[in-house]
Subunit: 399 residues, 4 copies
């Protein structure tokens, strides 16, 4: 029986050529798998047909937007996941989802190999292969772009030679990855890190510098999960989509940074993540209201490690599960409402209220009604500062 | 010989009344000490004279703006100090500076006591007393507002009775603390955390929502210290002042948050810190370019602890010194230029260049000239993902 | 109706006197509550009767040894809890258990107050009062030794005056707290930290320097919980008791340290915890075998914070719950057997085996059968060391 | 001109064969470099001559014991470096020292390549190559055992064929690496992790189970550096050697563990490090006496990361330098004396005294002379427990 390869298929030049390239290289049949994580663009049926036209024996397409929203974006939100305090893990979140579907397809189609189109200097190869190592360790991984010299020039030549139904002329000057949680752009002129991004780079967001009316909304959360906008209950997918649209119109969520890749280099990245940035701003402030101080302090360390781990491709790993154990517990009371103003590139919280608030007006107020017993303070301050005091006395004694 | 008290004097109602109050309560002579940390308002001579008029035997005033900029704001910048990822430690930075001057004045004037006007439910009492415990452990601390019932009503009555030269009528509806690094506002209507701030609350920043031209500048850093704007060398104080002005005009640096106080409660705080926020944005991005990945990752933990420690009043403490040992080392190569656009409430880095950059175009580029050896990737990925893979196999085996 | 106070009662001088002292001071009725956490000594009925004889209106005694073992000692074991890498939290674990029983008794007996016999310079007052604040915030706390001058001399005089049935003559030269998880000793001559402990200080452990035969046993764990010794299934309580006996006979678990108290001072402490130390040694090594590397590394940080938090009296706190969420997840696969040799004061693991081991002989061996693909190594090493390499090149360039 | 290779030479079979193997493979001249890090065994001149006899064009030997003690072992001591809380980094410390000498020799001898005899599944290849990447990035690295198939069998055949002066018959059943800081043993029968080590495995330590007299000594430290034993000033090297001897005679420092290698697998390791373990025990306890609480708590996190980083081969890295910045600062006051009893496999601190102690008898004592003001405690406890209390009230309210 002929061996089968499951290929992560995007519909673009590289993976379309890869169908035939892999078939020639391995003698195996290629099953193309395309997953909709909210990247937009062509419809799935068009992509499915192209895979067949390029020689795939089977082409599987799946709308995984709800799954992506619920099982991947929401955990990132509960972890306030911002790699290097900036990047909301757009691509890093979709790769494990795609891996899951690839592993399932491989089992279903009795494939012995799985293929991806990543290069050897990016993070995505790690995310694909680390995910596959965890979910489907028996499969051999093919990476034709990285390991068998399928350069862009060779891909174009291959497409022309085979008459593949791909328009190779309309090359974007940008290297782009996008999904429901955001959009990543890399490109030639941005590789000079002194160059600023130009408006043409952006697609999810309008120019924040253009004057327009502010947008205001109220987000409801239950246990760290957003459940409604302005009182209207929505699915996680719907909430992210609506916030992408509304925050995007206000220019929220543009990020321009030099980033530490797992594979050892620094790279320049431009991101747009209007919905993600707006949601994280709201979630963080609701945590400020509902999460106890020591828990909040330690959670920053946990959140940072969560972001690094997922960035580094280790979504399917024991540490990820244990961090989620912490984070889920910490989000139990992160319920309530946050009023958010979207305007001029900013997502600003202007109000918050919660039945599980730890903010207590009676304790906080300086007005009448104050229930805080200030006579406790002196004892607290003296004992709190005692270790540093004793150390300072020692330092003085020691000269 | 009559005992002496050194009083941290602001020129306002509470500390003006405290001069006579303390004198009556203790029989001691009061030496008033007023420190200019860039809070603006009245000139120092006016404040000095008022202290004398209110009964101080001596009144010492000092312009400590340069000292504050160099010795307190810059270390905070090198630590990217943002308590709860938001608050740049405005008041928390000035208190240890004031404490240092109080301790010096106490020694000079042979005082046996020192006094402050803090209440018992804020953080500043801790910062004063923990600092004094470290620098001048032999002094007794008086806190008349907290410990001997000097309420606002009693203060006003005292001022009227004694005919003190203080205008008690023009009471701000806001409780304000401000200095070179920013401004903090608390107030009655903001104690309802669902209420949004109104424009009247702000003083350091213009409304970011008003359309205006963007401002652009280039900041130069050497070893983590800002040294020039647009190529013009300036002192730290001058740089912070210019950025306060220019970033403030663009509405940069407004913060509205619920915050965890050290003294056990959550409080609502509104801050403005245009210069601080612009400088931290620039410094963080220059770190992204010049600091190695593992160092950058660990530095986030160090920076967080630095911010908590200073917030918690432990500026003069052994851990602070050791964290500074780490941070100074980490900033050795944080040199170069950052282009910053200030507009619409945002301080956005659009370019960065550095002779000590770790970003390497030759390694990062996808264009010709690429020197990254992609054949290394497979080995890296396989070994990197091996522990999670072995664990996943175990989990599958265990069912 | 007369108010009621629930008193944490030990049967000793201080708390026996406190019954009458509190009654006189408050006019309230005293309900004595004595909890057996495995401290040994007198039987509960004797203690109960003494409370009555000393004037308690009710005396409640409870054998909570099983509860203590399962709900307090085992979580500490899963966290490898060693404060300052040494102290297995003996007293810090029993206080929340006692607090729970006090809060329940207060509710049952309609008490409005609760009392403990702690001094003002130890950690236990914090553990009692922080626990009560969480479980029974409505109760007023009385601490007669700390707050109303019930010194030892006054207690002895009170006991004599009232004819209380307490032998005040047999005063131990040591201040001791002990329970199932270990024993803590403080004493006059040990307050000179240059003095070494003498044999007389110890009770749970024999002198490790005396020659004797080694003891060997096999401990079985399931998900981090010890379940059997030498194949014989036992309850957690039985396992701890047997290990206390067997490890104690071999002198295992003596600790002599200077410790950082929460209340600001350093103190000299001597502990004995034969069972705890033996169990932690076994559990740690089984974790080494069954927990994935990145999870194991982060768990050290979590374990450290768990130990600090519990030491600091915050057992009943949101951070504790979230840390437990992590730790429980991390212990899911900590199952298997550990062979332990107890001898000469050491508990040494000499063998471990587990169906959920991540140790893989085929990968680890240097003998035939090796399945590790060494050709992957070069790529891994080169990419792994790339960030440090690029930084070193920068440093050299910068001179 | 003929190219030159600098080879890390041990004098054993593998690296002796590597001289000729590399020469044949590359056509280059081989310069052998042997470094004495205290591994004992043959004298350096014998090793030097063997390298020449095996075909090296030059053979450089260096006694680096003092350098190793001062520049590598002492920093590890100040960091209390114990990987996985157990392993004092024996091999991980010597590799960067050897790398430094290799890089220097390569420069001196105009070599273009450097070679080591490591396999592809151990950590040492990473330590060699990461170190070389940092210190001598221009050199090409050869690893004949890993990359060009120089197996043991082939090495023996090569030695026989060439008549190399190596005795290939006396093969140890153990794979051993040893130096001043300790000794590491791996071996066939220990690869079954249920097997316990046998006495024959050990060389630096006597059997701790054999009854003998205890040994007692007083160690003096200055700023974290041991400077004298029983009042006699010694160099770091002399102190480590004397403690290796005296602690080794008492069976101190045996470690048997399953360990997480950087290269993705778990391995079984047996170590002996009598001097290291005794020194770390003493240093930790002196830190307990002289380091302030918050600094001590954070230092545990820093120490752990230091150990991981050095284990992982990143001695020459920016994070290492910054961690040292913290650790040096933290050790400034770690001065004083520690009395240590060595006996039965244990190194136990029984006394400590220090002019920079933060332990204060007057504060700690329960006897007369107590200066601790217990009236402060109530205020401290109430404010300390307030956040958890408010959270508990919320939880109860929420049900």
């Amino acid at each position: 029986m002929t061996e089968r390869v499951v290929l992560a298929y995007s519909g673009g030049l590289d993976t379309s050529v890869a169908i035939g390239w892999i078939a020639e290289e391995t003698g195996a049949e290629v099953v193309a798998v395309a997953i909709d994580c909210g990247q937009g663009g062509e419809d799935l049926e068009t992509i499915r047909q192209r895979a067949i036209d390029c020689g795939a024996v089977e082409a599987v397409v799946a709308d995984a937007k709800d799954e992506f929203a619920t099982d991947f974006c929401l955990p990132a939100l509960r972890a306030n996941a911002l790699y290097m305090d900036r990047y909301p893990l757009v691509s890093a979140l979709s790769r494990p989802l795609i891996v899951k579907h690839l592993a399932n397809a491989a089992q279903y189609h009795n494939a012995t190999m799985v293929a991806h189109g990543c290069t050897g200097k990016g993070n995505d190869q790690v995310r694909f292969e680390a995910g596959l190592a965890a979910l489907a360790p028996g499969l051999r991984v093919l990476a034709p772009v990285r390991d068998s010299g399928m350069t862009r020039d060779k891909a174009i030549a291959f497409a022309a030679e085979k008459g593949l139904p791909i328009d190779v002329t309309k090359k974007s000057p940008y290297s782009i990855d996008q999904n429901l949680w955001g959009r990543a752009v890399e490109t030639g002129f941005l590789e000079d890190i002194w160059n600023g991004p130009i408006e043409d780079v952006y697609s999810y967001t309008s120019d924040p510098a253009v004057p327009r009316e502010a947008d205001e909304l109220v987000l409801t959360f239950e246990a760290g999960v957003p459940t409604a906008i302005d009182g209207k209950e929505l699915t996680p997918l719907q909430i992210i989509e609506e916030l992408n649209r509304r925050a995007g119109e206000q220019g929220v969520g543009r990020i321009d940074m030099v980033e530490d890749r797992l594979v050892g280099i620094k790279s320049r990245e431009v991101y747009e993540a209007p919905g993600a940035i707006a949601l994280i701003a709201a979630h963080q402030e609701l945590e400020n209201v509902t999460v106890e101080r020591e828990l909040a302090r330690f959670k920053r360390t946990v959140d940072q490690r969560w972001g690094e781990l997922v960035y580094d491709g280790l979504w399917f790993s024991p540490l990820k599960e244990a961090l989620d154990g912490f984070i889920d517990q910490a989000n139990r009371h992160v319920s309530g409402e946050v009023r958010l103003v979207l305007h001029g590139g900013r997502a600003v919280v202007t109000g918050r209220r919660s039945p599980s608030a730890l903010y207590d007006y009676q304790l906080a107020t300086y007005d009448t009604g104050d229930t805080y017993d200030q006579t406790l303070a002196k004892g607290f301050v003296d004992i709190w500062s005692m270790p540093a005091k004793i150390a300072a006395e020692r330092d003085r004694r020691q000269g």
